[in-house]
Amino acid sequence: MTKIVVLGAGISGHTAASHLRRKLSKKHEVLVVSPNSNYQWIPSNIWVGIGRMNREDTVFPLEPLYKRKGIGFIQAKVVTFHPEGDSDEEMPFVMVEYTSGDKKGRQGKVTYDFLINATGPKLAFDMTEGLLPGTNKAYSVCTYDHAEHAWAGLKALIEKLKSSDERAKILIGTGHPKATCQGAAFEYILNVEKELVRYGVRNKVDITWLSNEYLLGDFGMDGMLLTYGKEVMKSSEMVEMVFTDRNIRWIAGAGITKVEEGKAHYENLAGEYKTEEFDFAMLIPAFSGHGFKAYDKGNKDITEKLFKGFMVVDADYTPRPYEEWTVQDWPETYQNPSYPNIFAPGIAFAPPHSISKPRKSKNGTDIFPSPPRTGMPSGITAKLVADNIIDSVKHGKISLHHKGSMGNMGAACIASAGYGAFQGNGISMTTFPIVPDYKKYSKTGGRDIQKTFGDIGLAGHWVKLSLHYAFLYKAKMKPFWWLIPE
């Protein structure tokens, strides 16, 4: 019997657990450890944040599903890693702290044969002074709680504008000089704009996009050259076209360093310190590792073997200048090099470097996006890790047959640009590969131009809505769920 422990039940962790359970016989144990009782389909949080969906539409409780499917579940958060066991325990284990029930606050050892670390990111609001959702008119949509809170703040502003002649300022973007997930903020700003039109208050609101991207449409992927209809255009031009059409002002190359009541202080790449005022803001925080510690059998600190902020995997972490980065730097199997039974798919793995070109302000502050690993790459990397573990269990030795580098993987970003069956809008973009391969596709910005395209229209909204229902169906492991690709 083999025991596989999955830390985290987000897109990555839940995908891995589902595939492991489907393909391994019941004599093997699959155990999920997550501090949250619910699964949440995070991409739809932007619709919770504009009041078009309720949290119930985007979440479901994990425990009943896992009970039905034969997946073990412990509601707890991991505290420390012990990949060699300790003086009392021969097996490798993680120390966890229970987050609910009778055992709440107590710690316990969870042993494993294979470990999948899918703990995702820590939403590091503390890395930006004053950035704490809902405390100073600045909100987040990173969790369903945050998104609900954001809608309450936006709704109050809309009501105020409807009943007065006042004007207002809305600021949406990234809340830290090295934040990632620009896509979520991009979706939110377009949805907010559309809702303001629907409520008849758009003419009273100045909307501003503020981001750490050097150019619009970077999305943490160094931007892209894409086909749009019969044209070939840069993603920066496409986003600029949309913002101009929606009368959205933008500030690029800006890193927010401090947030106060209705004020965001930022530094730009020119080294200027500026302030942007707002009546409502949604700012994506920095993502960081969880600060986990690891110990060997003798209780010696071996954290550096497992973590560089996020978990160390089979990437090439040798520091090199941007011009020397290659797709080969990126991991293929997400296996920890020191402990071959530990894997880290999704956001939990430490990237070798950013994808976007690193830039510093004239004062030396790093202002550029961190690499995105959310959504589709999370699911794909989780599935290939699960497949490698399944092969390893079946063959009795470590198998790494399944590979999936972000330098050889396509992704689709279906960005909602407004909600509504016939009034909705979406910006559909695909890119191949996610990490640009400037050698292979030297003439097209590192991407296969046949597979990197953009499209705008109502159909994009329908696609995004279809994905919402399809992926929740899949996550609930309903009949033939596994036929739906990650």
Binding site: M241, G404, S405, S428, F453, I456, L458
Partner: protein
């Protein structure tokens, strides 16, 4: 110079009939790109 979305383009973007076919085309195209498989980059 910034590209602008013309009124004719906007009408097409919101036309449910045209967009239905676009929806089918998008799904096929997206699955073709992201579902086509993936692999390593090293020898």
């Amino acid at each position: 110079m910034t590209h602008l979305i013309s009124k004719a383009e906007k009408a097409k973007m919101q036309n449910p009939f045209i967009q239905f076919f676009k929806f089918v085309w998008l799904n096929i195209k997206i699955i073709g790109i992201v579902g086509h498989g993936h692999g390593g980059t090293r020898k």
